[in-house]
């Protein structure tokens, strides 16, 4: 049967996100998985299978390149574990794979785990150097992750007449939000001036326009709707799920089609998720969003690609306060990637945990009153892979 309406999130666990020298990669798996299981009110032996989202095991000595990492971290032998990887959507891919196994009737209760240990190497020694050195010897040489999104920022600013100050507002909003999230990497307010005067990373992006380099783990327990109705303390249903892969490693750069104003992958993934969830007006029908704000510009284009702002109107939406805490369509109340950081595989699962808490009324200080339906979005690589999952409280 299809996933929509039949698969539930029944528990969640998230480690602190930060520079966690005392915690190993395997600790991130163990702590978040055990916390999720405990939150679900069950024992680990009830979990039948697990999926592990980790994008770059090279930053952790190759540990995390297979399901063996989970069997080493927690008591899981001999149950099946699959490591999945799809750039920054890896965490949500673990959720998606688990959901399909449940919908297929193969399992009743599974774990989706996302974890990434990025700070066992220095920040510049990790993904930046890896991308610079290990990728294709000629194509796109000179590319970095911030550099890729800076191309988007410059074209967006040029086309719509937006400014660096407009971009900075995303960082200010999300860093402010993180003060309500003890698990976030950073907890300090920023001003627009702080953002504009920060060291330059890739013009027009400076340090505070970029997600930091962070360790972290997050897990969710998922179950069939029947199991959840009979056993769960609280649960949310997956109402829609979309994954779109629109191109390869270089398509966005050497392809004449990309307008550098947004991402076709997000639009396609959202369309699929909205179709399954029966959403035709996301601005009205969603109560809360976590979207992939790897860079300030990305949150702005995400709101357009997800259909909560019209093309070119992302800055207007941001400035209206609608996406702020207290606004009618809050985005990244957790602090987003901007302030939580982006342990790549963990991010998507952290977002699912956040929306799960929102729509089950357990988001504490961050709670959106009466939230019944929320969305999680991750975007990967040069923007060619996007994952969108809509969660809703049952009985909607």
């Amino acid at each position: 049967m299809p996933v929509s309406g039949e698969v539930a999130i029944v528990g969640a666990g998230v480690t602190p996100f930060g520079v966690l020298h005392e915690l190993s990669y395997l600790d991130l798996i163990a702590r978040s998985a055990n916390a999720a299981v405990s939150d679900a009110g069950i024992n680990m032996d009830l979990v039948e299978a697990a999926w592990l989202g980790t994008a770059e095991p090279l930053t952790a000595g190759l540990v995390g390149d297979s399901g063996a990492a989970v069997a080493q971290a927690i008591d899981f032998s001999p149950r099946p574990v699959t490591r999945v990887s799809n750039f920054c959507t890896s965490g949500m891919e673990a959720v998606r794979a688990g959901a399909m196994a449940i919908a297929a009737g193969e399992h009743d209760v599974v774990l989706a785990i996302g974890a990434e240990k990025m700070r066992d190497v220095t920040p510049r020694g990790s993904l930046v150097a890896k991308t610079a050195e290990q990728t294709h010897p000629t194509l796109a040489k000179g590319r970095t992750a911030p550099g890729q999104f800076a191309l988007l920022a410059n074209r967006y600013l040029h086309t719509y007449g937006a400014s660096k100050e407009d971009l900075a507002l995303v960082a200010v909003k999300n860093h402010g939000n993180a003060n309500r999230n003890p698990k976030a990497h950073f907890h300090h307010d920023l001003t627009v001036d702080d953002v504009l005067s920060a060291p330059r990373v890739a013009e027009p992006l400076g340090l505070y326009d970029c997600t930091p380099t962070t360790d972290g783990g997050a897990s969710v327990v998922m179950a069939s709707r029947e199991w959840a109705e009979a056993n769960a303390r609280r649960f949310a249903l997956i109402e829609g799920m979309g994954l779109a892969v629109t191109g390869g490693y270089y398509s966005n750069f050497f392809d004449g089609e990309s307008d550098y104003l947004g991402f076709e992958s997000t639009r396609a993934a959202a369309a699929k998720a909205y179709e399954q969830a029966g959403i035709t007006n996301p601005r009205q029908e969603l109560d809360v969003l976590e979207c992939h704000d790897c860079f300030t510009i990305t949150e702005i284009v995400n709101t357009e690609d997800l259909g909560i702002a019209a093309p070119g109107k992302g800055v207007e939406l941001l400035k209206s306060g609608a996406t702020s805490f207290g606004g009618d369509i809050p985005v990244n109340l957790s602090g987003g990637l901007q302030a939580c950081g982006h342990p790549v595989g963990a991010t998507g699962v952290r977002m699912i945990a956040e929306i799960f808490n929102q729509v089950t009324g357990e988001a504490g200080e961050r709670q959106v009153q009466g939230a019944r339906r929320g969305l999680a979005h991750t975007l990967g690589g040069p923007g060619v892979i996007a994952s969108v999952i809509v969660l809703g409280s049952p009985g909607d």
Binding site: P137, T138, A140, G147, A202, F254, G256
Partner: protein, 374 residues
């Protein structure tokens, strides 16, 4: 030329000189290439084969020869070319980056001549040559820099008496002449100086020009054609540019160890060296090229679509990156030369450069250059 950028060498300079002369004669397909240089990157390995790939002459039956040893090799290559003309047009490329071998005040540059059985530039009527070993300038293999003997010894060089004996109007050796705005261009000096000697000269003007280095001497006797003075004027413009700014320092590459694969380098040589792309069934230009599919070349000019200056790229920074909308379709994404900033909408060209030395081997690729700045 004068001062090559840190990412230029005799291959990139030579390729561009050749591309320019070939583009002015699009119906001429050389059947032989002579490449003359004393500072080519491969002491063993074929520099001329790389040039043939870059010029889309590989696999066409075109053969190549490398002429080296002394900076008179440019003149020597012309002489050798004359014997090959019966088989088809000959491309002679002379290039040296003397500064890279510690040469002073030697310039960096490349000049290409296209030699055939007809043409409007000049006619080569006769040649002469001589060998009489002499230590004017030398470089011992594996032991570093170019050395010159002292001036008083060079004053008695046999090259000078050879020049006199053939009645040379112009004699090129390492002291003479230094081309204003270029310096001494090594093997390219002869090809450049002969052209410049035709400045303002009408068709029919005769010129005897000799070259000598290391005791190897060569001379050509030429007659100017109707185009000679126009080519000379074009060269003078190029040489009079000098340089107004410090060339960009080479980035510190000591710790940069990019992934390389010789298998990939060979397999993707057309895409790397001449931006060969493919066309899909709907007519769209595709780069990198699909393995199957009609072959086309990417255009080498266009406009900036978007750009950034990247401060975190680890190979010396900041790196300027841009996406270019190419004339005729397709896009290119890559580095801008010398870290120059470019603006959206700015017209640019694509230029061949040495991207890095991964695996200890020069990796050639293309970069973006603002128009008027190559």
């Amino acid at each position: 030329m004068a001062v090559a950028a840190w990412d230029q060498d005799v291959i990139t300079l030579g390729a561009h000189a050749a591309m320019e002369v070939l583009s002015r004669h699009p119906d001429v397909v050389p059947s032989t290439i002579f490449f003359a240089s004393t500072t080519a990157p491969y002491a063993e390995g074929s520099n001329v084969a790389i040039l043939a790939e870059a010029l889309n002459l590989a696999g066409t039956g075109c053969t190549g020869f490398e002429v080296g040893s002394t900076t008179a090799a440019g003149a020597a290559a012309i002489e050798l070319a004359l014997d090959r003309v019966a088989r088809g047009p000959v491309l002679v490329i002379a290039a040296d980056c003397g500064r890279s071998a510690g040469g002073r005040p030697f310039g960096d540059g490349a000049v290409a001549w296209l030699i055939g059985s007809q043409g409007e530039c000049a006619q080569i009527d006769a040649v002469s040559g001589d060998l009489s070993w002499f230590m004017d300038r030398w470089r011992i293999d594996g032991s570093g820099d170019i050395t010159q003997s002292d001036r008083s010894l060079r004053a008695v060089s046999p090259g000078k008496s050879f020049a006199k004996s053939v009645g040379a109007d112009l004699h090129i050796d390492d002291a003479n002449p230094a081309i204003a705005g270029a310096g001494y261009l090594g093997t390219a000096a002869y090809l450049a100086s002969v052209v410049l000697a035709f400045e303002g000269k009408r068709k029919g003007t005769r010129l005897t020009a000799s070259a000598s280095a290391g005791g190897a001497s060569h001379a050509l006797h030429l007659t100017a054609g109707s185009a000679a003075k126009h080519v000379a004027a074009r060269f003078r413009e190029r040489f009079d540019c000098g340089f107004d700014e410090e060339p960009t320092a080479a980035p510190d590459v000591a710790s940069f160890d990019p992934y390389t694969s010789e298998s990939r380098r060979w397999r993707e040589r057309a895409a790397d060296l001449r931006l060969e792309a493919s066309r899909d069934t709907s007519g769209r230009v595709v780069y990198p090229p699909a393995t199957d599919g009609e072959r086309v070349g990417l255009a080498r000019s266009g406009k900036v679509f978007t750009q950034t200056t990247d401060h975190v790229y680890p190979l010396g920074g900041p790196v300027s990156m841009a996406v270019i909308e190419l004339d005729g379709g397709g896009r290119f994404y890559g580095q801008v030369i010398d870290g120059l900033g470019v603006e959206i909408g700015e017209p640019v060209n694509l230029v061949m450069r040495r991207l890095h030395m991964g695996g200890g081997v020069p990796q050639y690729f293309w970069k973006i250059a603002p128009k008027g700045r190559t």
